[in-house]
């Protein structure tokens, strides 16, 4: 096998082959990937082990939200975060999620002012999260029982790749101080662990109109579908955002205005990690890198032997020490 590869390499042109070979390592041929259609990525997501009946999430219905922001206040209280009042010193009104703010209510208003909708922002708790796939050592992880995505400091290097990988712009980095943290909604995991009398996250507990409710993804999805079926045409495209988006999320949204207007981009139905499918193919079992390494060492050994011989010959002529 090695011999035939070696010969094949020899016959190919010299100029671009190194990078072509690199390409084989990095971006295995799409056709090969399609043919194999492996489920390797699923192993990255602990969700497959999470019983669907236990996966927890939220259902936020933007048509019910009155924009009172009590969920923001309760969120700060539950998570012991300092309210972000930096805009005017009075109101808790940060412009976006940040390291004071795990939960945010914003207002969408159309350009002519004729249409508006409140919307809530917090972690979507993806079934197959991009942030978790990006993280080097598992600083972001999925609770094996509930599927909640949470940050584990001792494994976080502070590289902020999770921020690049999250299409919803959720993880926030603490830009001040020498010991920064990644701050994001963890569905009040820690407050509920600390105080067993807390049975649900702050935001759902306090919401006066039940615009946001808490439960298992299975139940929430059924409820969302019931609401859509009960009022056809009420919700945008009769769609539950998060059912399939980004491979499915444990937080589900219903809205009358377009989802792209309320901070939920059109990310497609493939999960974020699955975009790297082809790259992973190239590393499978490390076969390709090892084969390439073997081939290169074999060729380099031969060429190196010739070169060394040539150097010794030269030294006889010139009396100068050979240089490697």
């Amino acid at each position: 096998m090695a011999m035939t590869r070696r010969e094949a390499f020899k016959t190919l042109a010299k100029g671009t082959l190194p990078v072509l070979a690199a390409g084989c390592v990095s971006t295995a041929l799409p056709t090969a990937a399609r043919a194999a259609d492996d489920n390797e990525l699923e192993s990255n997501s602990k969700y497959r082990k999470v019983d669907e009946a236990h996966a927890l999430g939220l259902l936020y219905d933007a048509t019910k939200c009155v924009g009172c922001k009590s969920c923001m206040v309760k969120c700060s209280e539950y998570n012991e975060l300092k309210p972000d009042t930096r805009v005017d010193g009075i109101h808790q009104a940060p412009p976006s999620l940040n390291y004071f703010t795990k939960n945010l209510i914003k207002l969408y208003r159309s350009d002519d002012g004729s249409d508006h909708s409140y919307f809530k922002q917090q972690c979507m708790h993806c079934i197959d999260p991009g942030c978790m796939n990006a993280c080097m050592f598992g600083g972001l992880r999925k609770d094996e029982e509930t599927g909640v995505v949470w940050w584990y400091g001792p494994k976080c290097v502070g590289c902020r790749y999770c921020q690049i990988a999250c299409p919803f712009h959720i993880p926030a980095f603490q830009w001040d101080g020498f010991n920064p943290k990644i701050v994001k909604c963890e569905l009040c995991r820690t407050p509920m662990q600390k105080d067993p009398s807390k049975k649900e996250p702050g935001c759902t507990k306090v919401c006066p109109t039940n615009a946001v409710i808490y439960g298992t993804r299975k139940d929430l999805l059924a409820e969302a579908k019931r609401r859509v079926a009960a009022a056809p045409g009420k919700y945008y495209q009769d769609k539950v955002y998060g059912e399939h988006d980004a491979g499915g999320t444990q937080v589900l949204y219903l809205s009358r205005v377009g989802y792209d207007k309320i901070g939920l981009p059109d990310v497609g139905e493939a999960s974020i990690p699955s975009t790297l499918k082809y790259s992973h193919m190239a590393y499978k079992w490390m076969v390709l890198p090892l084969l390439l390494y073997g081939t290169m060492v074999a060729l380099a050994s031969k060429n190196f032997a010739h070169h060394s011989h040539h150097l010794v010959e030269e030294q006889k002529e010139t009396g100068l020490r050979p240089q490697l």
Partner: protein
């Protein structure tokens, strides 16, 4: 016509020049700011980074662009040793030195950029790795490459320096040299496979960026196009270093080797451009090259700089050294813009989000470039790095022997091995 036969140090020139002290001053300022960053964090005064633009210059330029420029050790080396292009052996030491400096300063910048560097020790415990993370791949392969094969490849000039300058240590250095010769093919094999892996993973990083990276750049083939660009950037960097040495220290140039470097650069750029266009066309996005305003212009600027320079290099005019220099420079700029685009120039983070580096961020970025330049300037004057002829070596030997009595640089008997 000069023929390059061996590496010869730059001699008769002081190390401690005015430029040296100017670089030292910049580095001092930069290191103070780095210290301040470690205490204060990446706050607004220190960096222009924000949550939507979580990566700034230190990662996107010092690491993702400059290690591309420092890929000479990989790109030239693979042609010389694996594909037996004998003409390129003479420039290998320049390639390896530039790679080593680019990688080490890049790794330092990574350490300064990340918020919680003390947790990086997990990298030595493979069972803690998330094998699905492209960044993990980079962290492992890049640090392994810089600290093992690239480091070892740069040792021979240092061994030689010891042999000539410190006769007491000569036998030890010679033993090291012969051990190195025995394992060399295994080292250089690693020195090629590791950059293939991490230079492509640098591209894979932004695949996870999804639709925020403009569609002309965002492709499943981004890793391949990224490592391909690194290959010609490596050639650009080596050629520019040699031409600058000609300019600064009147080092003679071997036209045969230069022609070979040009030829390979030209073919790498041609094939890279062809592949890039093919990728865009196959994905059905070619119209975006005309309809997307700023992004379309950026795309054509990259293409014009690289393709135009490669075309000039392929013509008779490209043989003139001044034209050659300009062409390689513009080609490198084009390639660097390409490597910078997916993370910054063609990255639409969020509506109204904007990134521009803070002054301190810029100074620290330049500081680590200055460290590399300083290291390069000292190394080529102390060690045999830049290519020259045997005649140059004789002249250098005569000069050195006249100022340092007892030193012997010529008349060596054949080595035992």
């Amino acid at each position: 016509m000069t023929r390059w036969e061996r590496s010869v140090p730059v001699y008769g020139v002081p190390v401690l020049t005015r430029g040296f002290w100017a670089l030292c001053a910049l580095i001092a300022v930069g290191l103070v700011l780095t210290g301040y960053r470690e205490v204060a964090g990446l706050t607004a005064g220190i960096s222009g980074m924000t949550d939507p633009f979580a990566w700034g210059l230190w990662k996107t330029f010092n690491v993702m662009v400059l290690t591309g420029l420092g890929s000479g050790g990989f790109a030239v080396g693979i042609a010389a040793w694996v594909f037996n292009n004998k003409k390129l052996h003479s420039v290998m030491r320049v390639a390896l030195l530039t790679s080593c400096l680019a990688y080490w300063t890049g790794l330092c910048m990574l350490g300064i950029d990340v918020g919680r560097p003390w947790n990086f020790y997990w990298v030595v415990l493979p069972w803690q790795w998330n094998l699905h993370s492209p960044l993990l791949e980079i962290a492992v392969c890049m640090s392994l490459y810089a600290s093992v094969p690239l480091f070892l490849e740069n040792l021979p000039p240092i061994f030689e320096y010891i042999i000539y300058e410190f006769p007491k240590w000569r036998s030890i250095a010679e033993t090291c040299e012969s051990v190195m010769a025995k394992v060399y093919p295994f080292i250089i094999g690693l020195a090629y496979i590791l950059p293939m892996m991490h230079q492509s993973s640098l591209g894979a990083l932004m695949v996870l960026g999804g639709k925020r990276v403009h569609t002309l750049w965002q492709t499943p083939c981004l890793p391949l196009i990224y490592v391909w660009a690194a290959a010609y950037l490596g050639y650009n960097c080596v050629t520019l270093c040699i031409l600058l040495a000609k300019l600064a220290w009147k080092r003679d140039v071997d036209p045969v080797v230069m022609a070979e470097l040009n030829k390979l650069t030209v073919w790498l750029v041609y094939s890279w451009t062809a592949f890039r266009f093919l990728d865009i066309i196959v994905r059905g996005k070619f119209l975006h090259a005309f309809t997307d305003g700023y992004f379309s212009i950026l795309f054509w600027v990259e293409t014009a700089l690289t393709l135009g320079s490669a075309y000039v290099l392929s013509t008779e005019k490209g043989k003139k050294l001044s034209t050659m220099f300009n062409a390689h420079l513009l080609c490198a700029v084009g390639g660097m813009i390409y490597r910078f685009s997916p993370t910054t120039l063609a990255f639409s983070a969020k509506e109204n989000a904007f990134y521009f580096p803070a002054a301190a961020e810029l100074i620290v970025c330049l500081t680590f470039i200055a460290i590399a330049v300083l290291g390069y300037l000292v190394a080529v004057k102390k060690l045999a790095i830049l290519p020259g002829s045997n005649e140059d070596w004789m002249k250098m030997a005569k000069y050195e022997e006249s100022i340092k009595p007892g030193i012997q640089l010529t008349g060596y008997a054949p080595a035992d091995h």
